[in-house]
């Protein structure tokens, strides 16, 4: 699993950070940081999948 973010779309809305806080971090300038681009833990991977489909601006994508 590899996560990527389209920074032209990401608006720092924080939905992903709410679902998978170990993977997504948004700073106070609303820039998204992917803390763990290739998570191993299946539970975290499930959170990441949920984050991708829950992104309100469709900025996240996934290579499995």
């Amino acid at each position: 699993m590899k996560i990527s973010v389209d920074r032209t779309l990401c608006d720092g809305n924080g939905v992903c950070m709410g679902i998978a806080p170990e993977v997504f971090d948004i700073d106070d300038d609303l820039n998204l940081h992917i803390v763990d681009e290739i998570p191993d833990d299946p539970a975290v991977q499930a959170q990441v999948r949920q984050s991708v489909t829950s992104c309100p601006v469709l900025a996240l994508s996934l290579e499995e």
């Binding site: 939905v15 709410g18 700073d27 106070d28």
Partner: protein, 431 residues
């Protein structure tokens, strides 16, 4: 594979919750047939939060806000655009689906109710030229079209939609007056401290406000003519366009008379099942008892619709597989964009009896925590995502450690019925 090929699931509603139920059923390999009744709008699902913000401001289009479909819908998923569930059979697992003048009765093994809400428009204000509400893509496009003539706009109501609308119109450099029913915008959501901050932002960005005011009458001089507003203090004003932001009403009249709890939305147990356990709800319409907060609520926000839809699928599948359905215990979250600032809130502030205000984030904006009986139940901040999200985990942990009294067990559909007359809608609460 889950379920069996003879089963039919009807999904009512074509926005985020309905979309997520369908994609989740497919992802989990549901073997039966899905009938997806997508509603009157007749459009593919789209991201609704963008309407009052990016779409009005011209940063996105109807095309770019479509929800992504990870893979094409399966051959056993039937999509009915422009169709609505008009009636549930009180005695059988069957819905009447209507599209234009055609009717069809569809029997189901499970029904997911994701019919959401409509904009609340007082009857006397409905259908007047120049008067708009904002709920659907078509609503937003109608408003956007009018912006070409650079209208003087009055926004009525200063909750989320009204405040965002005012901010979006100012970013297009259009004149805006905001009518605030209470003394502060967003006050019922955020409380006085952050409400005051919101008001300052509106003023600093050139919005004029009328506080403590309601509109008692509207009249329109025709499609191009001005709208006259009459206020409760007897004064009047005119505008080229009026946008109403008066909250939302749930759309579940079609379930009336079937023994379901419709006192505020569709009442469910903690697992999102109704008293008819093969009928489940998700999204704005779902009224459930939150096991951590210990009271019933309805949440009209993006993250909730998506998470509840996924959860409702799990609850139904658990029942099929003789597992105990889990309780839905997500801590609510929403955000709002106004004047380049990101407001974020986690938790549920209803019934709070104490607030703490400090500064957080690089901007040093107010950061508010809301407590009930000494425990943190919500937190809100401006451009401070780390501070807000840290509180999400903390709220979850604190409430889980000491769940409120009177908790009911998951799976008991009669548990936690709302006290008579209690209003739990966040938007109603927000007025």
């Amino acid at each position: 594979m889950v379920g069996d090929t003879s089963q039919t699931i009807v999904v009512a509603g074509g926005s985020l919750a309905g979309h997520t139920v369908v994609t989740e059923l497919e992802r989990r390999g549901f073997a039966g047939r899905i009938v997806w009744v997508r509603g009157q709008e007749g459009t593919a699902p789209y991201s609704r939060p963008a309407l009052s913000k990016e779409l009005i401001q011209g940063k996105v289009t109807a095309e770019t806000i479509r929800l992504p479909v990870q893979r094409p819908y399966g051959p056993r998923t039937r999509i009915m655009d422009g169709a609505v569930c008009a009636r549930l059979d009180p005695h059988a697992d069957r819905v009447l689906v209507t599209r234009a003048s055609r009717e069809e009765r569809i029997s189901f093994d499970a029904l997911f109710v994701c019919t959401g809400t409509n904009a609340r428009v007082p009857r006397a204000f409905a259908g007047l030229p120049g008067v708009h509400s904002l709920r659907t893509l078509a609503d937003a496009e109608r408003i956007k079209e009018r912006l070409a003539v650079r209208p003087r706009t009055v926004v009525v109501g200063a909750g989320l939609v009204g405040s965002e609308m005012a901010a979006s119109l100012r970013s297009c450099e259009l004149p805006v007056e905001l009518i605030v029913q209470g003394q502060l915008p967003m006050e019922a959501v955020f409380g006085a401290e952050l409400g005051r901050f919101c008001l300052e932002q509106h003023h600093a960005n050139g919005v004029t406000t009328r506080l403590g005011t309601t509109v008692t009458a509207l009249s329109s001089a025709g499609p191009r003519g001005p709208v006259t507003l009459t206020y409760d203090d007897g004064r009047e004003s005119t505008a080229d366009m009026v946008v109403l932001g008066l909250g939302a009403v749930t759309s579940c009249d079609w379930l009336d008379g079937c023994g379901l709890d419709l006192s505020d939305g569709l009442g469910c147990d903690e697992t999102l099942r109704t008293v008819r356990p093969n009928i489940l709800a998700a999204g704005d319409v779902a009224n459930w008892r939150h096991p951590l907060f210990g009271h019933r609520m309805r949440v009209e926000h993006w993250s909730n619709a998506s998470a509840q839809a996924r959860h409702a699928v799990e609850s139904w599948l658990a029942g099929q597989e003789d597992r105990r359905p889990p309780a839905f215990a997500d801590v609510p979250y929403f955000w709002s964009d106004q004047y380049g600032l990101k407001y974020q809130m986690v938790g549920h502030a209803r019934g709070h009896d104490e607030v703490h205000v400090e500064e957080a984030g690089a901007g040093g904006y107010p950061f508010v925590t809301y407590l009930r009986e000494g425990r943190i139940v919500a937190a809100a901040g401006v451009n401070a995502p780390r501070a807000v999200m840290r509180m999400k985990a903390r709220i979850q942990a604190e409430l889980a450690e000491a769940p409120s009294a009177g908790g009911s067990s998951a799976g008991d559909p009669s548990a936690g019925a709302p006290p008579a007359g209690e209003t739990t809608s966040e938007e109603v609460y927000a007025r």
